[in-house]
Amino acid sequence: MSFVSIEKITKVFPGGVRALDELDLEIQDGEFFALLGPSGCGKTTLLRTLGGLESSTSGKISFEGKDVTFLTPGARNIAMVFQDYALYPHMNVLENISYPLKVRKFSKEEIDKRVKQASEALSIEMLLDRKPGQISGGQQQRVAVARAMACTPSLYLFDEPLSNLDARLRLEARTFLKQLQRELGVTTILVTHDQSEALALADRMAVMDKGRIKQVGSPAEFFHKPANIFVASFIGSTPMNLLDGVVNDGKVVIGSMSFDIPAHAQNTARTGDKVVFGVRPEYVSLTSSPGSGIASGVVKVTENLGTHYLVTADCNGILVRGTAPDGSEPHMGDTVHLKPESVRTLLYNKTSEDLY
């Protein structure tokens, strides 16, 4: 049974903005789940609705099979770490961590024990008597996590907890969050802007757009099999090649080029279908001679990506991107022949925008 179950949740803000649109989602017990999507797609709203901070317009939310749609935030046994951490400025770290426990009327000994555990787990013991204003951003984040952890909730909600940290600290904090979640085994939902963060941390993830889920799956599925054109163009550090074409006689014809129909679409793509042919630049390499299934063109731009070069070539008016190893990169104006790896190619229906 799934741990969090969201059924047809809709949230319409007073101004009329439909931030969540009949959204369905299931999250498994103990999972580290990441929510990804462009700005304004409703990630924060979804998280806040799960926390009970935002009232949903319609739909149902249950935790462990129990309907919590109408429960107050405090009755849901969750912990939330806010983007600004929301550490109380007038309480020191110790008081901040123990405040939720006091609210929940734990005994003095129990509070001391839990504060000790949490602060050791996050190595912030030496900060206990400082005020939030007197510690660094990374330390504040740890305190916020410790405060959330000490109440042993059954669900963690994180809203971009790492976005206030500088790049280096963010990497450290990322590793550390992952470890902590593994040790505690508590179901965790993380909202993030940063897809590398989602890919690195999550067991499973979802991409949202305009208040709806566009795809749910493991990070690998997102990378290799984006379920629709939106996800295909959203995920990936270098933008995927997405070329408009038509199916004709067992081939995908794109301008003057033609490629084999990808294996997954062989039984479903019909002649005459308008399609979008997709392949990541990482799976497009240079070959020495032209031919069928190969895009030949003139190099417009080369970009150094460290271990390899991203090559953009103009193939009779169609831009195709591929990669070349460092050292054997072509130059601007060179004619190149780009060959997609056939097992990595994808085909989308142009009308439904979905993968075949």
Binding site: R48, S55, T69, F70, P73, A75
Partner: protein, 301 residues
């Protein structure tokens, strides 16, 4: 225990506010009560009293009657009221608009370019004159203006009885001294809110100080300026301070409207007439506010 919570909050999906409707109303109502009793009721009561011949002494005291617009008609023919209205307009234009606002703006503009130390020292002195209690300020100026021993005559080397010979000028200067700090602080905030880069772009383009002021500072500070002018105009209109200095004299030469209202209503105890004057003042201020509000709305578009 848990099911109880569920039942208890079944009524509505949880909102995002700490306070429910009931608590929010409870939090607001004392303020609304105060505002109702001490602002709304007096405003309408003033209008109403202006329509009666209510007096504290005499026959009308026992049995005031409704006399329609008689008081207002009387006021419009009363040379004392008309002169009082004129004096008030001079007082407002002179001390609030040309005095406080202009001086406050120049101070804010000039101080903005000086070193922070000089700036805060000058600001401090200006703010001082603002927070010293009104009756102390009145006495300071009473002493300053004194004919025989006053410091002003000593500085200027003249022998003028300021409060007797130039009463309006005297209270205008007195009020400029007293109220400039507010305009200065507000305009400092306005100038500080203009991004530095805007002014720098103009400077690199070779704009003179005056051009910078006209093209960048004034348009950006427009809403601050309108709000400031409106507020200080209203405050000065209602200012009772000159009473402490001149009592409205000599010969009514500083009898601005608040003092005229006080004299009619609470000295000669003609509540009806005093209220009619107050009502006229209220309405004037209301119209003025509406005009400025409309102007600032237009500016936004």
């Amino acid at each position: 225990m848990k099911s109880k919570t569920v039942k208890g909050s079944r009524a509505a999906r949880p909102g995002n506010s700490v306070l429910g409707k009931g608590a929010a109303t409870a939090f607001l109502s004392p303020s609304l009560l105060f505002i109702g009793v001490f602002l709304l009721v007096p405003a309408f009561w003033t209008l109403f009293l202006g329509l009666t011949d209510y007096k504290l002494v005499g026959i009308e005291a026992l049995n005031p009657s409704f006399i329609g617009l008689d008081n207002f008609a009387k006021a419009l023919q009363d040379p004392q009221f008309l002169s009082s209205l004129k004096l008030t307009i001079v007082y407002v234009l002179g001390s609030a608009i040309f005095g406080q606002a202009l001086l406050g703006f120049i101070l804010a503009w000039v101080l903005n370019e000086l070193s922070p130390r000089v700036r805060s020292a000058v600001e401090l002195i200006v703010i001082f004159s603002w927070i010293v209690p009104g009756s102390v300020v009145a006495f300071l100026w009473f002493a300053f203006y004194n004919k025989e021993e006053g410091t002003l005559n000593a500085i200027l080397g003249v022998n003028i009885d300021w409060l007797l010979d130039y009463p309006m000028l005297s209270i205008i200067i007195f009020n400029i001294w007293r109220g400039t700090a507010f305009s200065m602080l507000l305009f400092s905030a306005a100038i500080a809110s203009i991004p530095k880069s805007h002014i720098e772009v103009a400077r690199v383009a070779g704009a003179s100080k005056m051009q910078q002021l006209r093209n960048i500072v004034l348009p950006s500070a427009r809403s601050y300026i309108l709000t400031n002018l409106l507020l200080i105009t209203l405050w000065t209109f209602n200012d009772f301070g000159p009473y402490l200095l001149t009592g409205g004299g000599p010969g009514g030469q500083t009898q601005i409207l608040p003092i005229f209202i006080y004299d009619s209503a609470l000295r000669y105890l003609d509540f009806g007439y005093g209220s009619a004057i107050a009502a006229i003042m209220l309405l004037l201020n209301l119209i003025l506010s509406l005009i400025v509000l409309r102007m600032s709305k237009k500016g936004k578009k």
